[in-house]
Amino acid sequence: MTTTTSTPGPASATADHDTAAISMQDVVKSYGRVRALDGLSLDVARGEVHGFLGPNGAGKSTTIRILLGILKHDSGRIRLLGEDPWAKAVSLHRRLAYVPGDVELWPGLSGGEAIDLFARLRGGVDTHKRDELIERFDLDPRKKGRTYSKGNRQKVALISALASHVDLLLLDEPTAGLDPLMEAVFQQCIREAKEEGRTVLLSSHILAQVEALADRVSIIRSGRIVESGALSDLRHLSRTTVTVQVETDIAQLATMNGIHDLVREGTQLHFSADTAELPAIMRTLGEHDIRSLTATPPTLEQLLLRHYGKETQS
């Protein structure tokens, strides 16, 4: 028997502060000939909300299921809350909650029963918190599993996860079926979880969500992490989108360093600029007559676009 308590407060999280919440190094997982994870390395610090971004099929769900000890990895080193997720699955699962992207409920059990069951199997349900969440997410818990829509099944799993006292939340595209109103409730809940000192791994391809919530982001592509860091660091690597309206064409822009994808549309010029080259570009523009100028900071869409090219354009 392990001696983990079912409700370790924030105190125990700070006690072993030096160990990361998630640490994966060179993890490989193959399904037959297909390599789902190809030397993936991922680090998530305790208490942070970590965005896990990537297109469909990049290996996000496989990574999370390996962290859950549901799939076994072929090689590499993994520590989850300082322990081996395959060997210590049961005791670790008392300290984490998981929300899958496709929630399947038992047709004959009501939503309320499923919420309580999952939380109890984890070690206990905070009934006060549960009732509050059911209210906030506007769920009817008496309906049978077979009558829920996809969004409502998602709510059942979310409420059950958030109503458990756990250190770590593993969320695999948790809001795929939720409407914008519920999306806002979800974001508020994640902020509260962070204030309570919990760690959140939030896998998503909804970039606005990650942008709003995440402290740090890892971008996965074809089973490897291709970029990892704070959002501000990643922006640094990207380009600013610039639209200028001009009286006469500025021919030298086409040859300048740091200018990409220049398009002329009547009197409008669109281009993206390397952030480092912006001062020089601005000086050049200043020498000409400009009617208007808009510059937008890089969004995560653009970060992804840069890494994956046309693959993510839908």
């Binding site: 909650a97 109890r120 309906k143 049978k144």
Partner: protein, 562 residues
Amino acid sequence: MNLLAEKRASGHHGAHERGREGHLGGGSLTGLGTLLRFMFRRDRLWMPIWVLSLAALTAYFANAIAVVMDGDSLQAMTVFAKNPVMGLITGPGYGLDHVTVPRFIVGMYGVFLMIGTALMSIMTMSRHTRTEEQTGRAELVRANVMGRHTQLIAALILTVLMNAVLSGLMAVAFHFSEAEPEPFSSTLLFAISVGTVGVVFAGVTAITVQLSAFARAASGMAGAVLALAFVVRGVGDMSAVAGGDLDWLSWLSPLGWTQQTAPFTLDRWWPLLYSAGLVVALVIAALRLQSGRDLGAGITAERLGRACAGRALTNTFVLSFRLQRSGLLWWSLGILVMGGVFGSFTGAMDEGAAGMPQEILAIMGGRSGIVDGYLGYMALYFAMIVAAYAIIAASGLRAEEQSFHTEPVLATAVSRGGWLASWAGVTLLGSAWLMLLAGVGEGIGAAASMGDWDLLWPTVLGHLAQTASVWALLGLAFALYGFAPRLMGLTWVVFAASAVLALFGQMLQLDEVVLDASIFTHIGQYPAQELSAEAVLAFLVAAVVLVWLGRLGFRRRDLVTA
């Protein structure tokens, strides 16, 4: 042929026809031909499998009975057939006083063909109507040029055609069998009256698929109507055989109408008019119900469940029980009733033993110990039935994994071994419980019919002891689940081989070594034979070891995930 006729009609007066159709039904049947063609395409395996299996079953009954039964044994079986309990199960028993092989087949086996036909219709109707709505495919279809009632009417036409073809094949199979029924008009009456049951239950299902928004519930309701029809005519027929005054009840059931045609005895066609009238009424009612509801909605609202989990739902054992509960409940009811019914045959068996065919007597322990022999044999028989339950229940564990219910459970503080052990525990206890119920039912029935209550406990013990062989089979199923869930079907193969060896091995005079390969031949058919404590113990140990092995395998493999 139907399609051809339709094409020709539309070829001659195309525009005119279309106009009239629009006027009559408000376009509610638009697209019927196209949809029907599509349904035939979808069912190109489903239809022949159902129709041919039921026709083959008819051929089997007709030939097997004709071969096994000669004049004397037929007379002896008639004594057995004419008791009220057989009336409850098989029917009013027309013509058994001057029995012939065709009369015997119609009287004793007709009802099973009727049930098969009804099930075929219920499942075909539900598959083409409510299942389509539940999955949302009907919405895609209805968004095209397609009338409100097209899908329901097309499903009805398809089902009626299946029953018509089935009736034709049944008549042919029966006519050319060893039973040599004469005249052909009686054979045809029998086949058509059986098909009529199918058509009636197509109508019943047309109603129930309007009521519930879920295909399973709709089929279940239609099945309940079938069960009710069976019981109502059963009580009526029992009364008729026993000379009581409840025989009018048989006339309240569609199964009763079919049986009242009494082929080869009275040869009446007119009871089928009741069936036809009922079908028309059912279809009209179904169309009205459909007009009054939204696509995808039911008439009855889904009942709400509990807002919170009950206090007991805290671990995987309770969860496993909860998930297996409704199945276990229905099986319990069925097994108890079956036990009681078979048990109450004991008295009739004892009286009828004198003239029974030697082959059947030999299996049941010969003339001298016929009562013990029969009760011991029934213990074996129930072990096979309960084994089928057990394998279905064990397969539920794999179904849970495949429908992605297992993943979120294992993502909580539940070990793989614990989950498998919980499910296995419920299944093992459930099958022991069913064997106990079978024994109690059989024992009470036997004791009551013989007036000898000393029969009760030996019967219960004999049935309960057979649990060990069911458990060994379950062990195999769970071991396969752990290592190679895809191979779980092998359990059915072992089950089928064991059952065939145990049932027919002696009759075929097979070698002891071959018979020993059956899992069902080792416990001993108590009270006719001694129980083998070694076999019981060996099977129990095997079950435990195999489940433990299954846990080992399950801990090593990847889970099936979405």
